[in-house]
């Protein structure tokens, strides 16, 4: 549901693995590389710690986009974690798309600890994409208010 309201602020959850992407986000910070404040980062030890349940919950609670960042293939601190994450997310995202959570609202991106620039660029482009899609309402219908 695209909105024309320029002031609309999407809610974006970014899961970042501790070893590469969280450090990449830190580097974006220390290099003062701006990206929208809509992005809120949750630190996980590895991309493979992200349970599909967390992503479903985010959409259920009103997130408009969820991005998962991990080390580049072959560089995962635990060797293979990001391969698991990649397989799981491929499945989950196609299922979400089927449920009406468009593909553009979910993303997996590999960001190394040295890629502050990539982190910032990724977040800018992801937020931009989510903005064009507008608020996510599909799972919001089922929103379970506490």
């Amino acid at each position: 549901m695209p909105v024309n309201n320029e002031n609309w602020k999407p809610t974006i959850v970014a899961f970042c693995c501790n070893w590469c992407s969280y450090a990449g986000a830190d580097l974006a910070g220390s290099s003062r590389l701006a990206y929208p404040a809509d992005v809120k980062i949750i630190k996980v030890p590895c991309s493979c710690r992200v349970n599909p349940m967390f992503i479903l919950r985010a959409f259920e609670k009103g997130a408009d986009g969820v991005i998962l960042c991990g080390c580049h293939p072959g560089d995962c601190h635990y060797s293979t974690g990001n391969y698991y994450a990649r397989r799981r997310m491929t499945l989950l995202f196609s299922m979400l798309d089927y449920l009406g959570i468009e593909e553009g609202r979910t993303r997996v991106e590999w960001v190394s600890a040295a890629e502050g620039v990539k982190f910032s660029e990724t977040m800018n482009s992801f937020v931009e994409k989510v903005r064009t899609l507008g608020p996510s309402v599909r799972l919001g219908d089922l929103r379970c208010k506490n």
Binding site: W19, G29, K40, K43, C48, A58, D75
Partner: protein
């Protein structure tokens, strides 16, 4: 119910200039379970930490949230502060409102709103934190050094001198690395072998050092303090205990075709060979790809001539398994391939060479016995052109984006040595910038220009064109005079970019150490922890971490050794308590988790279980806390939701999600 304290740091103006810290405190105080909220200019300072302690005491806090810089910066500081104040260090969470907020946002309202949300997520998490106890693991008091260049040798000697055992694993037949290929070294022009050989001997004869040459690391498992490493000792076909290093085998070997790697392929060697005269160990290896006996079964000449019966064609690769407390990577570098740089005619002309090839040509033990001559016709070159930055500081994907750092200095060295020994040979250097920071470095470069008459031209070379008469035509520009230059040369030397040894990827993967986009190993912190890798127990020495000359390499090698010694001096280490744990009531013993665990930390046990009063025996997953590294792969795989990760539990992460999406 937790009693939580929220501490908001100004970080001077780093946070406070963009985030309204008072507002964050005000909002924190409204959060459920928050019994105390305050802000302070520098929370990490002694005074800031004692405010935390005071609040803990006064309000009986059980959990702490610090809104500050990245947890990668100060999580350990605040955990220690909590411990001193009498609460479990794992009851602390950090809301990163500097790197992830104040430093990237400009608008105060927006940044403050975000800081409040990050604070709430941390508070929500702490509500679910549980005290965790770090376990203990033993430290194996032995270190492994991978790579036997000057970096590896120096690190090994320093560790061994402190009284610990060290093993060096070197891939080639001898230790020594690139430095053994160099002729003279800047900035003092002393002969490389003269300063390196004593170090090699010292390492080889040290009672605490074991050297495995012609060997490679095959497999690494375990963790800091307790690595288990498989080392492949490649078949040498020469019995190390019997061989006296007399060299008669190499004189007699009829297979003389293989390219001599040590001389960068500029000449050939025999199938049985020691790479260079001062090799350590001074025991040859047989190159199975060119040995006639090993390939066809005929020959056996070396065996016949060997007076001590050291030749053994039946040798096989051997895998040995060793335990180490710490691992140092010192795998060094190589020069890049020049296939993508057709314009320099490197593949077309024998007289276009790399600087490393020039080192071999200038060396008395090299392919020309130290005479400076053209490889095409053996004539002495009268005009030599050096081209700087070949593949360094390159903006396209043919080369490397970084400065190789050593080339300006070694080119000045080469130019000076040539002008000194062959005064009637002209030397011209094309450069983009001359970079000579370092003690006595600029003086060295100026000597080349002022005392030795080396002609430096600022500008790039577009093309090197081999001519019919065997000469080379160099087309370049002189940026200062703003003119095109066509220069006839007899020899062109390319200051070829260096890159990490290609093996480093394999090594880094085995060690779960990270490498950057240029394949250099990443340090734990670029400024403050330059010789540690982010992986605990893995350290970095030499050029594998970034371009360096010998003095810098040796300094870093010593620094890495100190870190290793600090680790090996401990008897026990605290282990990360954020490990996986399975709920025995929920686990159905399906084995899915063990399949994904990269560390083999999960086993299964038949256990007597009290399931709400009903006793049953059941096969359940058990996590070995010493092996589990806390990645969490198993928690997501577990179909019954039995497996969870302490410190990053499902409920904790969901609480953060909820707080952010509230």
């Amino acid at each position: 119910m937790q009693k939580i304290g929220v501490f908001v740091c100004h970080c001077g103006s780093n946070i406070a200039a963009t985030v309204d810290v008072k507002k964050v405190v005000e909002m924190a105080a409204k959060e459920q379970g928050v019994f105390h909220a305050e802000d302070y200019p520098y929370m990490c300072s002694e005074a800031g930490q004692s405010r935390i302690a005071a609040a803990v005491k006064e309000k009986g806090l059980t959990g702490i949230v610090v809104c500050s810089c990245s947890p990668r910066m100060h999580e350990a500081t605040f955990r220690k502060a909590a411990e001193r104040a009498g609460i479990n260090p794992y009851m602390v969470e950090i809301a990163n409102i500097r790197e992830h907020c104040s430093w990237i946002h400009k608008d105060m309202t927006e940044a403050t709103e975000k800081a409040v949300i990050l604070m709430r997520a941390a508070v929500a998490k702490v509500h679910l934190n549980a005290p965790l106890m770090a376990g203990e693991s033993r430290v194996t008091k032995r270190a492994l050094v991978i790579g036997g260049g000057i970096a590896g040798i120096q690190t090994a000697i320093d560790i061994a001198d402190a009284g610990y055992k060290v093993d060096i694993v070197e891939k080639t037949p001898s230790i020594g690395g690139r430095m053994s290929q160099l002729d003279k070294t800047f900035p003092t022009l002393d002969c490389s072998a003269c300063i390196l050989t004593p170090k090699m001997v010292e390492a080889a004869s040290h009672e605490n050092i074991t050297i495995h040459t012609w060997s490679e690391v095959e497999k690494v498992s375990g963790f800091v303090g307790n690595f288990t490493v498989d080392i492949r000792k490649k078949a040498r076909y020469v019995n190390m205990d019997k061989c006296t290093g007399c060299g008669v085998c190499q004189e007699k070997c009829p297979s003389k075709k293989p390219l001599n790697e040590f001389n960068r392929g500029l000449n050939t060697r025999t199938a049985i060979y020691t790479p260079f005269a001062q090799a350590i160990p001074n025991v040859p290896v047989i190159d199975a790809n060119s040995c006639i006996k090993l390939k066809t079964g005929k020959c056996g000449i070396c065996e016949k001539f060997c007076q001590v019966g050291a030749i053994d064609y039946t040798q096989k690769d051997e895998i040995i398994t060793e335990q180490y407390g710490a691992i140092v990577v010192a795998t060094g570098f190589d020069t890049i391939k020049l296939d993508k740089y057709g314009e320099y005619a490197y593949n077309e002309s024998k007289d276009v060479i790399t600087s490393l090839e020039l080192e071999r040509i200038m060396n008395a033990a090299g392919p020309t016995k130290g005479h400076l001559e053209r490889l095409s016709d053996g004539k002495a070159p009268k005009e030599i052109v050096f081209i700087q930055c070949v593949g360094s500081r390159c903006s396209d994907d043919r080369g490397k984006p970084y400065c190789s750092k050593i080339c300006c200095m070694y080119t000045a060295k080469h130019a000076m040595l040539i002008r000194d020994k062959y005064p009637d040979t002209n030397v011209t250097v094309f450069y983009i910038d001359v970079r000579t920071p370092g003690k006595n470095f600029d003086e060295f470069y100026r000597r080349a220009v002022e005392d030795y008459g080396v002609h430096y031209i600022k500008g790039q070379v577009g093309k090197v064109m081999p001519q019919a008469d065997g000469s080379l035509l160099v087309q370049g520009v002189d940026l200062l005079d703003n003119k095109q230059i066509l220069k006839k040369a007899d020899m062109v030397v390319l200051a070829t970019a260096i890159e990490p040894n290609p093996d480093v990827r394999k090594i880094a993967t085995m060690l779960t150490a990270s490498i950057d986009t240029n394949n250099f190993l990443t340090e734990a912190h670029p400024k403050l922890r330059p010789v540690e890798s982010p992986t605990a127990g893995v350290f970095l020495s030499g050029v594998c971490q970034g371009p360096k000359d010998i003095p810098e390499t040796v300094a870093q090698a010593g620094a890495a050794a100190v870190k290793v010694i600090g680790l090996l001096a401990k008897d026990k280490l605290k282990t990360n308590p954020c490990t996986a744990k399975s709920d025995e009531l929920l686990c159905n013993g399906c084995s899915q988790c063990a399949n994904v665990c990269p560390y083999g930390a999960i086993t299964y046990e038949e256990k007597l279980i009290n399931d709400h009063g009903i006793r049953r025996t059941s096969r359940v997953a058990v996590v070995n806390g010493a092996l589990c590294q806390g990645c969490g792969a198993c928690t997501v795989t577990c179909p019954s939701g039995a497996m969870d990760l302490q410190g990053f539990s499902n409920r904790q992460i969901l609480a953060e999600v909820d707080a952010i999406c509230r």
